[in-house]
Amino acid sequence: MSNRTMASLMRRAKVDPMDCYQCGKCAAGCPMANSMDLNSRQIMHCTQLGEAAYNKLISSEAIWLCTGCNVCHERCPHDVDIPSVIEQARYDAIEKGKIRRKSKIFNDIFLTNLKLTGKSQEAFLALIYNMVSLDIFQDMNSVPHMLRHKLVSVLPEFIKNPKEVSNTMEKSKEWGKAEK
């Protein structure tokens, strides 16, 4: 069992989970470690233990909180590409429909918006996100400043050919899970 998880990660993330010897330098430098239900060291431990632990990992909030800042990988004495492991764990989580609520809302809005306009619209994004996620008053005090200095536009902007973007996005999905 554990071999399958590990073999899969070795192939997809190009990481051998057994390279990690749990020194904790990654978690020590991780900006999000204290907010995570599993910190980066524990994430690696989950990948070492096998299927059950890996399932715990893909149901965790942690993989959605990673900011992708790569400090863990940078300082890892064994050069373990932890962000790559987290990335693959997220794809596995998506496949099993286990996405953190707020991340799902945000990413869905972002991608829908992207599909329509080809560009990300910070203001709309924030606004819609706040409404859907019920964090209605988040960042409201910045809005007047933004509008005054024309830091955001009131109308959505479009790129030249949004169709290309939506095509690309659709086609990407055809490859399915990131199996190569």
């Binding site: 959605w64 955001v152 973007v165 086609k171 990131a178």
Partner: protein, 298 residues
């Protein structure tokens, strides 16, 4: 020859108004030509690569392929750390992994050979040619201004993709800023993450990140922070009022690095929209200009 294809990224047109205006100003001054990629699109950060691996590579590759088609001999420049990271990752994988390139080309429906480099403006302005050109145009040095240069994560990491020689204590931005006459302080949070990727969906969790960064800058004597990324810039600056209330975080203006250069080159405040900062920046800038003039007289 300072000519580049230019990938502006989504923020450049909106929240990063100051960055874009000052960037354009500096380029005009030193004769650097930026050719905006015709029909560029969003790189997909921060959602596309989270949700779908191929999409995360194909979206940036789409813009890169267009750049390759329009300006086959120009390297690609971008001002945003997130865009830089996504573009560079896509280019890196397409260049080194034939399987990925095949997938990507099929997805975007056009050829992409990843022949040209993706660069960020920090590296571009850090070249000897650009540094010399900027040096010649400095007319109004900023004296005594204490600056903390903030690189963020994605401009330097991961090393395999960015190829940045020093990921803990880079000095490129310091070298550029010191042209303006300002003093760059030595501090420890240059490449710490500000949590910009989760500004919206994990606000509570990312707040402390900004707090420690600003605190360390101020503790080391900084009067302002400069960045090379619109997302970092916004994240560090926009919610300072809120942080002040929650953590007692000190308030400090956050500039794009081109802003200080533009000011030192003599740009008018309106030209680069200096008043659009969330935290008042006029006082320290005015003081630095005045000190510069005095030193000049002496």
């Amino acid at each position: 020859m300072m000519k580049y294809s230019f990938f502006p990224g989504c923020s450049m047109g909106s929240t990063a108004k100051c960055y874009r205006l000052s960037l354009e100003y500096v380029c005009r001054q030193i004769g650097m030509d930026l050719y905006e990629i015709d029909g560029w699109n969003c790189c997909g950060a921060t959602s596309a690569h989270v949700m779908n691996e191929v999409m995360g590579l194909a979206l940036p590759a789409l813009s890169l392929a267009k750049a390759e088609k329009n300006f086959p001999h120009l390297d690609i420049a971008t001002g945003c750390a997130a865009c830089y990271s996504r573009l560079k990752t896509a280019a890196h994988h397409c260049k080194n992994d034939a399987g990925v390139r095949y997938q990507v080309e099929k997805t975007i429906g056009m050829p992409y050979e990843a022949k040209r480099e993706v660069l960020n403006f920090m590296d571009i302005f850090g070249t000897e040619e650009a540094m010399t050109a900027m040096q010649e145009k400095i007319r109004r040095p900023l004296k005594g201004l204490k600056v903390a240069c903030y690189y963020g994560c994605l401009n330097v990491r991961p090393a395999a993709i960015t190829g940045a020689p020093d990921r803990e204590n880079p000095m490129t931005m310091e070298n550029i800023i010191s042209l303006s006459g300002a003093d760059c302080i030595d501090w420890s949070f240059k490449t710490e993450c500000c949590g910009g990727a989760h500004q919206n969906d994990a606000t509570t969790e990312t707040r402390p990140l900004v707090d420690v960064i600003i605190r360390n800058a101020v503790a080391n004597g900084a009067q302002c922070i400069v960045t090379a990324c619109p997302l970092c810039n916004m994240n560090l600056e926009m919610r300072q009022k809120e942080y002040e209330r929650i953590f007692g975080t000190p308030r400090i203006p956050v500039f794009a690095f081109t802003e200080l250069i533009a000011i030192a080159m003599g740009a008018h405040w309106n030209e680069i929209a200096l008043d659009a900062h969330y935290t008042d920046a006029s006082k320290i800038i005015a003081e630095a200009i005045r000190a510069g003039k005095e030193a000049d007289v002496k």
